[in-house]
């Protein structure tokens, strides 16, 4: 026995006090952990609460993305413009024929909703340069984002969710939300005023959030980007599509089968004073535009056979040379996409066949 093991015995009160102190330390440590994890803060906008809000808004659809649930996979490639490296040192900006795994989709969490003219359309791209860093971006065909914070995003979801009593959104809830969020009211006017194109192929998709690009010389700029179609714009004609619930997707698949579709990747170069934090505010029209390259989409596949269903188009998967801005929505998107990806990946085995199936796609080929 070591000599220091012989200790004078503690009295009963003293012993109890010491046990209580140990208990107190452990309880405090456990409580701190529970607090940091958000379990004591029901008002905190956690990733789980966003998932619950999407479910309240759109219902539960296992295996599908919680937002932009209805989509189709595409593949193609990217060719950098000769001077693209002026803006960013990212490898893809000096490469040709960089493989792309992309996805066209409709906003909203209902994977079997009928296509509608006014539904926001999205293009998501994953650039996979061989032996260099990948880049992922998700873009929407609206000029500005409807919200500029995680709180705004969440409140908008709740305000536009169907009322359980009527099955329809409550107009007064939306009015209350818009009064509290004048930035959304202003953004909605710009969004509603946009020209709606005939389909996915002649649509322009915007990054909405700002990013920063750094070139090899170390010069950084604030940017927003867009994919601008090289297919001519044709205005949407609602009368032409009665009876086809997937007309936007069917048209896209048909057009890709006829010939590859092309978009220019256009950078808008921000200037001093342009907000990088607020995605509801457009940058002035006279900002310099620079074409960084061309996106070519050559093949469409269903979510069952294509690779896009396994991709989380996380806007923060960026190569060296492109970085996040101070826009808080980037973290909101990234964190909620991650949770959505985790949920649907675990539900893969029970996912029903997507609305735009392989049979639809084979049938659309001329």
């Amino acid at each position: 026995m070591q000599p220091d093991d012989k200790q004078r015995p503690l009295g009963l009160i003293n012993t109890l006090g010491r046990f209580a102190s140990i208990g107190l330390v452990l309880c405090a440590a456990a409580a701190l952990f529970v607090f940091v994890g958000g379990w004591l803060s029901p008002e905190r906008l956690t990733q789980d609460r966003f998932m619950a809000a999407f479910e309240a808004h759109d219902g539960r659809h296992p295996g599908f993305r919680r937002n932009h649930a209805k989509g189709v996979c595409v593949t193609g490639w990217f060719d950098a413009a000769t001077d693209a490296a002026t803006w960013s040192k990212a490898a893809i900006f000096h490469l040709q024929h960089v493989p792309i795994v992309g996805r066209f989709a409709l906003a909203g969490g209902m994977p079997f909703a009928a296509d509608q003219a006014a539904t926001v359309r999205s293009m998501a791209l994953r650039f996979l340069p061989i032996g260099a860093e990948e880049w992922r971006t998700g873009m929407n065909d609206i000029p500005v984002f409807a919200v500029n914070s995680n709180e705004g995003f969440y409140a908008q979801l709740l305000a536009s969710a169907p009322d359980p009593a009527t099955g329809k959104p409550n107009p007064s809830a939306m009015q209350v939300f818009l009064r509290r969020h004048p930035e959304t009211a202003r953004a909605m006017q710009l969004i509603k005023a946009r020209a709606i194109s005939s389909g996915f192929a002649d649509d322009t998709y915007n990054s909405l959030n700002a990013f920063s690009m750094t070139n090899a010389a170390g010069t950084s700029i604030a940017v927003r980007w867009a994919t601008v179609p090289m297919q001519p714009f044709v205005a949407h004609d609602a009368a032409a599509h009665i009876g086809d619930e997937n007309y936007l997707f069917d048209d896209l698949v048909k057009q890709i089968a006829l010939h590859p579709l092309k978009w220019q990747l256009v950078l808008t170069i921000g200037e001093e004073g342009d907000s990088t934090r607020d995605a509801t505010v457009p940058w002035p029209k006279e900002r310099r535009l620079a074409t960084a390259g061309t996106v070519t989409i050559a093949r469409a596949m269903s979510e069952e056979t294509g690779a896009c269903n396994d991709v989380n188009y996380d806007p923060l998967v960026l190569p060296d040379g492109i970085a996040a801005s101070d826009d808080p929505l980037l973290a909101t998107r990234s964190s909620t996409y991650a949770r959505s990806f985790t949920l649907r990946s675990a539900e893969k085995s029970v996912k029903p066949v997507s609305a735009v199936s392989s049979r639809d796609i084979d049938g659309s080929r001329p």
């Binding site: 010491r18 102190s21 140990i22 456990a30 956690t46 396994d310 998967v317 101070d326 675990a346 893969k348």
Partner: protein, 182 residues
């Protein structure tokens, strides 16, 4: 008789990793319940810190084999000695398992394993989202288990310090042995 103490290197590794692992677990539960910019900053810290813990865990295991810890006091009941052995094995196991699970799940997602600047780690698994989902769930489960075992470890350390008042706590605490023995 000279009482057993951990070597200075062992103590440095223990306390440095204690700080890192606690930070890591708090960063982990904080980031997965955040949707603000805090998420971004915590995630940017989480990945390189996890890899640093993995590297130090290798160093620490090697150090433990080279410099075995002092034996427990002979007066310690066998059942408590067994509990100490099991909990230490769990702690060592989790030091390796947690960073490897994180690395593996990002590989399976597949997400780039960003350390800092342009520095990335290679994937250690091929892309498999269903596997990612399972690893992601395990990462949470083992993280919670890790914190629970740390609380048990802390409770046991305080029992040695305040109730038993034997050599165990002093053998790892930074203080010199107080000059109060018979």
């Amino acid at each position: 008789m000279q009482e057993g103490r951990f070597t200075p290197l062992s103590r440095l590794l223990h306390w440095a990793m204690a700080a890192m692992i606690l930070t890591m677990l708090f960063v982990g539960v904080g980031m997965v319940s955040s949707t603000t910019e805090r998420y971004r900053y915590l995630l940017a810290l989480h990945r390189p810190l996890g890899i640093a813990i993995l590297v130090l865990a290798v160093v620490r295991l090697a150090n433990r084999l080279l410099n075995p810890p002092p034996p427990p006091p002979a007066s310690l009941p066998k059942i408590q000695q067994l509990a100490a052995t099991v909990s230490h094995m769990l702690l060592y196991g989790l030091m390796f398992i947690m960073p490897l699970l994180g690395w593996a799940m990002l590989s399976a997602a597949p997400d780039p394993i960003v350390l800092f600047g342009p520095l990335r780690l290679p994937a250690i698994l091929s892309a498999d989202p269903a596997l990612y989902a399972r690893l992601r769930a395990l990462h949470t489960d083992f993280g919670l288990l890790f914190y629970a075992v740390i609380l048990v470890h802390l409770g046991a350390a305080l029992m040695h310090a305040w109730i038993r008042r034997d050599s165990v706590f002093r053998s790892m605490a930074g203080r010199r042995r107080p000059p109060t023995t018979s």
